[in-house]
């Protein structure tokens, strides 16, 4: 309790959650005005890990901005790589070889599973269950090893390049991924048995943290938050990019609008990602992984370019205004968590403090991506 503020009618007090608090998944500070056990007003305060990524994009050359893409959302960096590659390829009109596009989809979907696994494990740990995190970490480690064998890094990937990918995947990766999918498929029903069916979890999640579709529209929330509110919206379907139109997968949508719905969307997305990876591996064509004739010193033509992808947490889109020089005139990053967390203030009004933390976890925020 930082200070005691008295209103005329009732006694409220201010409470700081964070910035150094394990339940906020990073340096997110929430200033809460409490009325006893209930939240009167909760205001997320951002900016503790603001690194000026947008400004960096305007100062660095197009190629030099690559490592930043791995450091926005460190849990699903591949999707961010994909967005930047797509943006500049659209601007320069580079045609990417098909094999490279399939590799991009495979690695990005593996990355999505990895992100949801950690989200799942960490979320249950927020709610007080420690064991599922260990199980999730076990599976996640397999993915990290697979991706490390191809990209060279475990989290902050810098794997995609304009016109393709850094290096080709080998047979070890393909067999390893197939083996992983085979091993991972039966794990999801196990998670459901261990966690989803648990009476305590159901009590804490069902009916808690209602986020209506209207509220999502108002704040621009996307990803599992929006799909947990009954809106079937996924960039992979609504604004198809890469080779997603050629792959068959479902978009999990839940109409319950509560924390449980968001949790279930993530669990089902992992199954769908497995389906995507299997199909992409079967369809993987032979050929080069880099487009020919990509200039070293990139100078996209003058214009305004935009590209959007479905990252693990929602729609990530980039907009670049090029003035024909080797740096961008304006680089705008639209990050999903920023919009998702901004509805916290309205949705958490009148909630119990412990429920609010369960609700915050269901939004699955990644703070460096929110602050950019």
């Amino acid at each position: 309790m930082s200070s005691l503020a008295q209103s005329q009618l009732r006694e409220t007090f201010e409470l700081n959650i964070g910035p150094q608090h394990p339940a906020t998944h990073g340096v997110l500070r929430i200033k809460v005005v409490m009325d006893g056990e209930y939240i009167d007003r909760a205001e997320p305060i951002l900016g503790y890990i603001h690194r000026m990524h947008e400004k960096m994009g305007e100062n660095r050359t197009w190629n030099q901005f690559w490592p930043n893409m791995g450091r926005l959302d460190y849990l699903s960096a591949m999707a961010y790589n994909h967005c930047y590659a797509g943006l500049v390829e659209r601007a320069m009109e580079i045609v990417v070889p098909e094999r490279a596009e399939y590799i991009r989809v495979i690695t990005a979907e593996l990355n999505r599973i990895q992100s949801h696994l950690l989200g799942f494990g960490a979320y249950i740990m927020d709610l007080g269950g420690f064991t599922p995190l260990m199980y999730a970490m076990d599976e996640r480690e397999q993915i990290l090893d697979l991706l490390e064998s191809v990209t060279g890094s475990r989290l902050t990937y810098c794997y995609f390049r304009f016109g393709g990918v850094y290096n080709d995947i080998d047979d070890d990766f393909i067999t390893g991924t197939r083996a992983f999918i085979k091993r991972f498929r039966p794990q999801i029903p196990m998670y459901h048995k261990l966690v989803t069916g648990n009476a305590i979890l159901m009590d804490r999640l069902i009916g808690v943290g209602p986020v209506s579709a209207d509220m999502c529209r108002k704040y621009g929330a996307t990803g599992p938050v929006l799909r947990g509110s009954g809106v079937n919206y996924d960039i992979r379907r609504n604004e198809p990019y890469s080779v997603y139109p050629e792959l068959d997968f479902d978009i999990p949508v839940y109409k319950e609008c509560d924390s449980m719905a968001r949790y279930m969307v993530r669990m089902d997305e992992m199954v769908q990602s497995c389906r995507i990876i299997e199909q992409a591996l079967n369809k993987l064509p032979e050929g080069p992984v880099m487009a020919e004739k990509v200039p070293k010193a990139l100078k996209p033509p003058k214009g305004d370019f935009h590209y959007a992808v479905e990252a693990a947490r929602g729609t990530f889109s980039m907009r670049a205004v090029s003035d024909g020089t080797n740096t961008a005139y304006r680089m705008r990053l639209r990050s999903p968590t920023y919009s998702n967390v901004s509805l916290f203030e309205e949705a958490s009004r009148g909630m119990l403090l412990s429920d609010a933390l369960a609700f915050l976890g269901s939004l699955d925020p990644v703070i460096p991506e929110m602050d950019r």
């Binding site: 480690e141 060279g152 902050t156 810098c158 850094y166 009476a199």
Partner: protein
């Protein structure tokens, strides 16, 4: 009241199911490693800090000191120091300094390197409490026993010396001509000195 008992029953049921899984997992082999005694195998593509490549033919680095790695680096953590040595083709690398504290392992330098003189190392045990420990001279790292002297090509050396002498001669001539031009209208008495210079050349 029936809801109360129903809750207890479903709760106990879920507890039993959960415990069944954890007990089963309890009997499996642990997946963790005892780190200092065992360590993880690194993949050949693992991106450690960059290192210079030793050419198996010459036993030296392949760097041509073009500075493309330096230019392409987003965080400016590479400094290439080179000099011109008599009788050696191109520039000679004298120090390749990598400030690993700011490196983000993006691979722009490796990609930019035309002669493939740098690659990612597999080193990952790099713990230290001092920041200075992460400022590597990669040339020293490549040759810990001492940097070998570059091979001198005698023909090239001869050519260079000839060229240098020619250049010196040309410079002297130019100087003499300039002096003559300047001196001629002012002091014709100094002619003797000029002729001396001419003799010299």
């Amino acid at each position: 009241m029936s809801g109360y008992f129903k809750d207890i029953i479903t709760g106990l049921k879920s507890l039993a199911v959960g415990l069944q899984i954890t007990n089963k997992e309890f009997l499996t082999k642990p997946i963790t490693l005892l780190y200092p005694h065992e360590s993880v195998k690194m993949y050949p593509r693992y991106r450690g800090h960059i290192e210079l490549v030793k050419d198996p033919e010459t036993g030296r680095n392949r760097c041509i000191c073009c500075g493309m790695c330096e230019k392409g680096c987003p965080s400016g953590c590479i400094t290439v120091k080179s000099e011109k040595r008599p009788g050696v083709k191109g520039k000679v690398l004298t120090a390749y300094i990598l400030n690993f504290t700011t490196c983000s392992l993006c691979g722009q330098c490796v990609e930019n390197c035309k002669p493939e003189a740098i690659k990612f190392s597999n080193e990952y045990n790099l713990a230290s409490t001092r920041r200075e420990d992460y400022i590597f001279d990669l040339l020293q790292k490549l040759h810990p026993e001492g940097v070998p002297e570059p091979e001198v090509d005698p023909e090239l050396l001869k050519k260079e010396q000839e060229k240098e002498e020619a250049a010196k001669k040309a410079a002297a001539e130019k100087k003499a001509a300039a002096a003559k031009k300047e001196a001629a209208p002012k002091a014709p008495a100094k002619e003797g000195g000029e002729s001396k210079a001419e003799e010299k050349s």
